[in-house]
Amino acid sequence: MEALVAIAIGVMTSCAIYLMLRARTFPVILGLTLLSYAVNLFIFVMGRLSTGNPAVIGSGETYPDPVPQALVLTAIVIGFAMTAFILVLALRARVELGNDHVDGNQEGRT
Amino acid sequence: MMRRLFPRPELSGILWGLWLLLVNSVSFGQILLGAFWAWLIPFYTHSFWPGVMSLRKPWLGLKFLGVVMVDILIANAIVARLVLSNSERLQPAFMLMPLDVKEDFTITLLASTISLTPGTVSADLTADRRHLLIHSLHVDDIEQTIAQMKQRYEAPLKEMFEC
């Protein structure tokens, strides 16, 4: 299972970074979102994998490490805030610049 | 006074019931808490409910619900057969169903019912709200199907809410 998880996170990261290397704002934002999913999973599994009961006292004998879960929650919220912000920024950039390039292609194309 | 405190008693009732269902418990505390929510939420959101109608005939409603549930089961059996059979033999059709019900709420209920029941999905409502466009996966006689739907679903709905 560990290998599967590792590979899945790796593939997600790869895809995310590939998208972040595109020339337009929207794919870059998609990449960032995908990256934040991958990172959230990464943080999560740093508490190791565990099946069965959540970290709710009384639900079982052993519990998973709750710390990474709490960290992921914080990361998700912050990631959400950031995504919202950059989306609006992309919109703003598109209106101000007349295009949605991020590759230094200045004007002329839309 | 009561009207202002409890603008939507039937909604409050539903919410109370739902709360108990949600918490999976009928302890006294939860009943109290449920009552609190059942009061609070309508109190603040009743202005969002302009078009929602009140059920006039509850028993008719229950009967209608039974009919629909049976129809859903049948519908799915039929759909399953149709889906798994050779799709070349299916006879799909768009049908235009004239509406007798007038209110948005009733139309919505009707459209939902039609979508859940045999082989039909309500796909569009004309702008004048007089016709419902329905897509059917497999239909032989369009006129007859429409008539059947009007009689089976629209009539009771109209009676329950609009009479």
Partner: protein, 502 residues
């Protein structure tokens, strides 16, 4: 336990919130904002005084003892950074209040949120909490950068935000990796656990440390991760750019903090990298200073030069050099901020030319602005009697007994010479090579002049009264070099006795 340590975080937070909720009149906003900044400075000075005694104070949030809860730690370094930031903020807010905070009503609250983030980052003793405060200050900085709108800000802003989001993602990866290896988030505890780690697993922790270096390097604008900086700083509104002078320093601060505490057991971790990167950064900064066509961009590259210089100091890995770097850090922050404000003032008096380094109309207040520019340039280049000179001499002395002097000295001196050449070009072009008539209505009032003058004065005071400062830096470096006091403070810490309320 004293709650004072918390004030640098809570005061800006409450100020920002108050400004967001009650934002009716701009003059009220300005008054609240400036008062808060002043109060913050007062508190920070108090904290500095306490830290200067050498005690390390802890504050356990939620009364949970370390390493379990989040702790704030006030040591000399933290206090120093706090004071540096609040002085800067006071002048920036002062300047912004000179009607440079339009349009909109969000500049002041954003500045205070930025302060909250910065102060939190300086104070926290928890590595994930550091991340959270990074995000607070980054998001504030994104919004601040875009303040005022316009093409360049949108373009530069997008680049800045994307790169920093990538950086934040990496920060999370590194921090969680470190958690995955050590099982803790408290920096002091993490450092101890890394020291006790099975050598076979140590590379994992080191990987976390090196990934963090990429994160901090991005914030600090280390080559080759500095590309976001010039455009962002050049595009930002005057007060914002001035405030941003502290942003790169945060990266440096984080490096110093994390590597002296968490990776105290791996002292040579960064050394092979810092050296070449510092030199390349310095070179890139100088090239940019020479190449710049606008003053704001030139100042932005000066920021880069200061980063390169600072890194050289940090790379020296000696207490003395670290002390010198800290002095230089404070000096360069203030002076770059002064330059940004100054350039903003000059820009307003040059009509459509703005800050392009070309012959244009004479400035209405050419004399006073010229004097300011002259002093600021002297300081940034490192000419006496400014703090820049003291900083540079101090830095050079710190390496004089090491072999590295062969690199550092020429780097510092040549960068100084090239900067002189470039700045004298821009200065003479703008102040001396003038054509046409002054734009009379562009005259600035006394208040903005006081903002620049004050910062420059501080730079000079910082040099004339530099001896106690230098001693403090020396003590700070000593405290950092020996993390046992920090660890002791952490391990001896006792939460408040629970009474009957729980």
């Amino acid at each position: 336990m004293s709650h004072w340590i918390l004030i640098p975080i809570l005061l800006p937070l409450f100020t920002g919130l108050a400004l967001l909720i009650w934002s009716d009149r701009i003059c009220v906003t300005r008054a609240i904002s400036a008062t808060s900044a002043l109060a913050l400075l007062a508190v920070d000075l108090l904290l500095l005084q306490r830290a200067a005694e050498g005690t390390i104070s802890l504050y356990a949030l939620g009364n949970w003892p370390p390493p379990f809860g989040i702790v704030l730690v006030l040591d000399r370094l933290a206090a120093l950074m706090l004071v540096m930031t609040s002085v800067l903020a006071l002048f920036v807010i002062w300047y912004a209040a000179c009607d440079r905070d339009q349009p909109g009503d969000s500049l002041h609250p954003l500045i205070h949120f930025l302060l909250m983030g910065l102060n939190g980052a300086f104070l926290t003793g928890d590595i994930f909490n550091l991340f959270v405060f990074f995000e607070v200050l980054l998001l504030s900085s994104y919004a601040l950068l875009l303040h005022g709108g316009g093409k360049e800000r949108a373009r530069a802003g997008f680049h800045y935000v994307v790169l920093n989001l990538a950086g934040s993602a990496l920060f999370l990866i590194a921090v969680s990796l470190l958690y995955g290896v050590t099982g803790t988030l408290n920096m002091a505890d993490m450092g101890q656990r890394i020291a006790q780690l099975d050598p076979a697993d140590r590379p994992l922790a080191i990987t976390g440390g090196l990934l963090l270096f990429a994160v901090f390097g991005l914030k600090a604008a280390v080559a080759p991760l500095y590309f976001w900086l010039p455009s962002a700083y050049a595009a930002a509104a005057g007060p914002v750019a001035a405030l941003f002078a502290v942003m790169t320093k945060l990266g440096i601060y984080s490096m110093v903090r994390v590597y002296s505490l968490v990776f105290a057991s791996e002292p040579g971790l960064l050394l092979p990298w810092l050296w070449p990167l510092a030199l390349v950064t310095l070179a890139a900064g100088i090239v940019g200073v020479l190449a710049a066509r606008e003053l704001r961009r030139q100042v932005a590259y000066l920021v880069l030069v200061s980063v390169g210089t600072l890194l050289l100091g940090v790379a020296m890995n000696s207490q003395q050099a670290l002390a010198a770097s800290l002095y230089y850090l404070v000096h360069s922050t203030w002076i770059c901020a002064a330059l940004f404000i100054l350039v903003d003032l000059m820009r307003q008096q040059r009509g459509l030319l703005e800050d392009t380094i070309e012959s244009g109309p004479p400035l209405v207040q050419g004399t006073i602005l010229g004097i300011f520019f002259f002093v600021a340039c002297a300081s940034v280049v490192g000419l006496p009697p400014t703090s820049g000179f003291v900083g540079k001499v101090n830095l050079m002395q710190a390496v004089s007994s090491t072999v590295e002097a062969v690199w550092v000295w020429p780097a510092l001196l040549i960068s100084g010479l090239l900067t002189i050449t470039a700045l004298s070009r821009s200065g003479t072009t703008i102040f001396w090579r003038t054509t046409g008539d002054v734009i009379a209505q562009s005259r600035a009032g006394v208040m903005p002049m006081v903002a620049v003058g004050g910062l420059l004065l501080i730079s000079i005071v910082f040099s004339f009264a530099g001896d106690p400062v230098l001693s403090f830096m020396s003590d700070t470096a000593q405290q950092l070099a020996d993390s046992t006091a920090y660890l002791e403070a952490s391990s001896l810490f006792q939460p408040v006795e629970r009474g009957d309320i729980r």
